[in-house]
Symmetry: C2
Subunit: 325 residues, 2 copies
């Protein structure tokens, strides 16, 4: 199942990524942002990131070019959503701004019968769906589809329904995402930060703490996580990692031998909930110093590694694993 047209509202990094992903599948996309400056950058960036997917071997050139031919940089919200049957909200993480925009989108539906059945999804990374869509009249076609950064490369998309999202809308979102080569997971219930935000926040807090305590530098920490636990988790998630880490006995044997270590660490992990201004300054400066003047180079290298990993995982996937691996 593929949509007639996708409207992406919000042309920051996530919106541009959604647009690049949909265009790379040859789908007609309109992108719109309220800020003209953002739109200017977006017109260049969507094309660049869509074409980069060809260079990274993630999309065939002919389909990408078809998608780019149909790409519309809309001047008005009404132009963007007109005729779209999937509308993706991708503005900044501010619940009031999202609510206001979404009410505006729903009002278009009154004027334009064509979008009355459009699926409307928010890219929020952790706000309660019931709040995000709280001012809309119809919730049955609304849900969260949270991608990671960059959305055109990382497969996971968290799908989080409101209390009144219809099963048909859920299925439709999952099918759209699968058609885009994404891996949607549907949360059984909404929780602030969903799954990815919470796990990432847990990781980042400890990583910040280790740097601020002087245990390790920013770039050594990054390499340690990359070449250590992250490679492990990319090959097998955390629970499976430990189930496989203790020989025949599995998780039972693992907890017998190592739960005590984990409990002693849990006792001592960073548990602060805020960075004070001094810590924030120290962190920002350390990260900027570690990666100064090479952001573009590092981004390209990151994307090259990401696409290489994706290709490797696709190749390593045995047919029999599709259900169980």
């Amino acid at each position: 199942m593929i949509p007639r047209k996708v409207a992406v509202i919000g042309a920051g990094d996530i919106g541009v990524g959604w647009a690049a992903l949909c265009a790379s599948a040859g789908w007609p996309v309109a992108i719109f942002d309220l800020k003209p400056g953002t739109m200017e950058r977006a017109s260049i960036e969507v094309e660049r990131r869509t074409r980069a997917l060809v260079a990274l071997d993630r999309a065939p050139e002919s389909i990408v070019e078809r998608g780019l031919t149909e790409l519309v940089h809309a001047q008005f919200l009404s132009e963007a959503v007109s005729d779209a049957d999937w509308i993706i909200e991708a503005i900044h993480e501010d619940v009031a701004a999202k609510q206001k925009l979404l009410v505006g989108i729903e009002q278009q539906a009154g004027d334009d019968a064509l979008i009355s059945d459009a699926l409307i999804s928010s890219s929020s990374s952790g706000l309660p769906p019931t709040e995000i869509f709280g001012r809309m009249r119809r919730l049955d076609r609304c849900l969260v589809t949270h991608p990671l950064n960059p959305p055109e490369l990382i497969p996971l998309v968290e799908v989080v329904p409101t209390e009144r999202t219809s099963a048909a809308s859920m299925n439709r979102a999952v099918e759209y995402l699968r058609s885009l080569g994404r891996f949607p997971i549907v949360l059984k219930k909404s929780i602030p930060g969903y799954v990815v935000g919470r796990v990432s926040a847990a990781v980042w807090r400890e990583c910040i703490d280790l740097v601020l305590r002087g245990v390790i530098s920013v770039d050594e920490l990054d390499r340690a996580v990359s070449l250590g636990p992250a490679i492990g988790w990319a090959a097998a998630g955390p629970h499976l990692t430990y189930h496989l880490a203790a020989g025949e006995g599995g998780i039972r044997s693992f907890t017998q031998h190592l739960l005590a270590s984990f409990e002693s660490w849990w006792q001592q992990l960073a548990h602060w909930a805020q960075l004070d201004p001094e810590q924030q300054r120290a962190l920002t400066q350390s990260i900027e110093r570690a990666y100064k003047g090479k952001v573009e180079f590092l981004r390209e290298a990151r994307d090259r590694r990401l696409s290489a990993i994706l290709r490797a995982l696709e190749q390593a996937r045995a047919p029999s694993e599709s259900e169980s691996g």
Copy 2:
């Protein structure tokens, strides 16, 4: 710099992994365990895991076979450490047992001048090095080299000195590890759990919590982490991920827009330090149910994915990145 002979003391999963890794480099290895049952399994497992590295394209067959020819399943501690210039302690995570074993190893040095200059490293995943080696006379040649599971595949090794480890011993450990294709990182100071244990504990606690709260099932959680944040972190560590996630503004712009979200999540993350028996039972059962009856299949699939990711990262590494990426 490569050692004349490596002695691995402890033939559980980590010891077997060290032995397989060293044998796959063609190095002479002796492995020893106090429990005869463990040694029996180890004799089969070291060969299997060393040869698996050929099948996984991680080591050339001729070198692996040379290493396996020289592999010794020692019957006594003295036989294992005799003539070794790198002794790797890899028994279970119990500080008193490690201390006792290490004193025994040091006593061999009195009888056998050949090992008096051996480097002695512990595979502890988080105990203070100064405690582990606390009962030894000479600390200058002692340090922690903590690998991940499986040690023959995951490149990262944490190197943690005692307060009296010599710079020469540190350099020697780093060189040995690099000769084995490992990526050693040296911690600036010791902290319980080191870097990997703490970051892993932070991840696992939240992952356990999400399953126990019914937000997501064990296998969906594992896939979500694998195909989402873990792929991202494998391509760029946590700090770099966020530095690259907000366009031109880098980490400064990221914190401006998203620190508030992180702070709200930090406030709410799991902060328990113990699993009560009921929770432990629920977790164990959920993990066993999710992966029942296919541990061997899943381990092979995991190792296939791991080696594919490693190869992908090696291929994606541009020459100019060796210093900065």
